[in-house]
Symmetry: C2
Subunit: 377 residues, 2 copies
């Protein structure tokens, strides 16, 4: 992956190329081996005035005539691209795929423009027309969660503190800077009770993986990892139609699909990369993905159970909060962190003896979620 952050001199295509070349160089592949390229990006049209970026990238990488597909599934585009490559490979339709996701965002400086662009994913007549945005939904969820489960705000802010601490040791992270609980709790209110440090930054960046059939993996690398489970599920588009806003049904379903495919349980996971675009999401996701009972996710984080060395380390990468969130890149960057952890290559943020991990890549406000389960080979 590229470093995530404010990458002033790089455009969307530059980022996709840079991360692709890194993935290709990390593998013993040659250009002619690739039969498919999957590209994940959400706002290429709105922020970059580009379409057809997948076939454009294939040309830049000298991979012609490889098949090219661009997937736009909101902030879940990355996971979705991995899923489609996984199926293509499993079907025999593709032997070697490059899966790359990226987003170029920080060149947009008009206040509110990015928030509005992302809000195109909400329901137009039921939600968007009334002025809601993703941060406003996250504020509502934070309030509902705090009230329902009697959760003090510090427990939620502790997730940001943990993720910033993890990010210090991730050279690819947007922020490599620890924050204190006091800083988090004193940060500006954005959508009450959501504060500045409860929200991921706007980032540029891209991330790429090379995928092939398991039986061919040793040809291309000495340190393969296995994708053994993939799941994807939808929920209502309109949030008020959900029985309980604090429950992510789509995550319950898609993570179960991934666990079942891999024949694993949540208890067998060594770590997880969850989608903390807002810190409340990490708390809720850590419950619905099977690590904690409902209402106990934020408390578990506060008590250190999700820190590196804890019961189930979550977001050792720093998560979206500290690594950053270039939308289309995130689902792929999550899998890359699992790969590095399973290869024991994560340096100072290494989770000891990592054997298996799972992701939550979250689209819309939870209406399109993917889980990818990765294991040591």
């Amino acid at each position: 992956m590229t470093k995530f952050g404010v990458l002033k001199d790089k455009g969307l295509m530059d980022l996709l190329i840079e991360s692709s070349l890194k993935a290709i160089e990390d593998s013993k592949t040659t250009e002619s081996d690739f039969s498919s390229v999957y590209v994940a990006c959400m706002l290429d049209q709105t922020l970059n005035h580009m379409t057809g970026i997948a076939s454009a990238l294939v040309d830049r990488l000298n991979l012609i005539p490889a098949a090219a597909d661009h997937i736009e599934n909101g902030p879940a585009s990355g996971g979705s691209a991995i899923k489609n490559a996984f199926y293509a490979i499993a079907s025999g339709g593709c032997d070697l795929a490059l899966v790359v996701g990226g987003e170029k965002m920080t060149h947009i400086t008009t206040p509110g423009f990015i928030t509005s662009a992302v809000a195109t994913i909400t329901h137009h007549s039921a939600e968007r027309i009334h002025g809601v945005s993703l941060p406003s939904f996250a504020g509502l969820l934070t309030r509902a969660y705090m009230e329902k489960y009697k959760v003090p705000k510090e427990w939620i802010s502790s997730i940001a503190v943990k993720n910033h601490k993890n990010g210090v040791n991730n050279p690819y992270a947007h922020f490599q800077k620890a924050i204190t609980m006091e800083e988090a709790m004193k940060s500006a209110i954005i959508a009450d009770p959501l504060q500045l440090y409860d929200i991921c930054p706007v980032s540029d960046g891209a991330a790429a993986v090379v995928m092939c059939p398991a039986e061919m993996a040793k040809q291309y690398t000495d340190t393969p990892v296995l994708i053994t489970g993939v799941g994807q599920a939808t929920d209502t588009h309109i949030i008020y139609e959900r029985e309980d806003i604090t429950v992510l049904k789509a995550l319950q379903i898609c993570s179960k699909q991934a666990y079942d495919m891999a024949k694993k349980t949540p208890q067998e996971m060594s770590l997880a990369e969850l989608h903390d675009a807002f810190e409340i999401l990490e708390a809720v996701e850590s419950e619905d993905i099977g690590f904690f009972k409902k209402g106990e996710g934020a408390k578990a984080a506060y008590e250190g159970l999700t820190a590196i060395g804890g019961k189930i380390p979550i977001n050792p990468s720093g998560g979206l909060k500290a690594r950053g969130h270039p939308l289309g890149a995130t689902g792929i960057a999550q899998v890359i962190e699992l790969v590095w952890q399973l290869r024991n290559e994560a340096g100072k943020r290494q989770v000891p003896n990592a054997q298996a991990g799972i992701t939550c890549n979250f689209g819309g406000f939870g209406n399109n979620i993917l889980s990818i389960l990765v294991e040591r080979m």
Copy 2:
């Protein structure tokens, strides 16, 4: 599929829903049977200010928690969505998929806006910055083809005359109106020598198919057809980098992939649906897909070989010229026409004894092309 045309009272989501419900009603499926929905659309962001349309559609159709993916591959998005569903089904990852593509375009009335939006698929620094558009490329190609192969303009215009004639008998076509050669040849010059009647219209519309494993097809319909071949290939993004602009290498490659997968030859095809966004494309595609020698496609059309009842009927639907071209819908509408023809349900435009057909779904200016081969079961 919906009717294609200027559909004033319908938005993008309305069109996707209408075509989806028609496909579902045409099959003996129930809502809970669907495990995946693939949505093809090119300009949802630019023309409709929407993202994440696949998961939104799943909710509207009451198919929750089916997996939702949105594919944007320019005007080849429809074929690409079918390909990804095909692989998902072939892998065992999906048992029943709804594949739907659509575009809402005619509400945009700013002159040049649609042409500029589509031109976001060209190479930014090598092409777009100099003011090129897709029609200008088609004009250059028409001139090069006419000069290289000594082709009079009438031969190319005859393709428009044929496709308009076919469209008369297609109740779903944007235009159900025959045109004369004189009208075509007297129509306004758009990008010399390209004239008004050499160019498809801007249309609204959507198209949907239901896909499942072949062995399950009889559960869902009495008249299944088989997808036996799928191919996809890329070519250079920048057009001047191609050895010969009159050769569509990506089509040669992807149609060969489809023929090889199906173990069929071009000579065994009963008909074809080709991507005549510009009429010159039908001529060139009819060569590169294997029906005619290079330089003989336009002549063949002029001589009636591609009319219904001819050697190889092309675009009995009316093609993009007469059926219309709601970008994301086109690749799926092409397959739907093949389905109707193979089921012997095409009415007055029926190709006698249709056994097998192939498509060309063309993205960019030929840098991302798919072929889908369909046969009677």
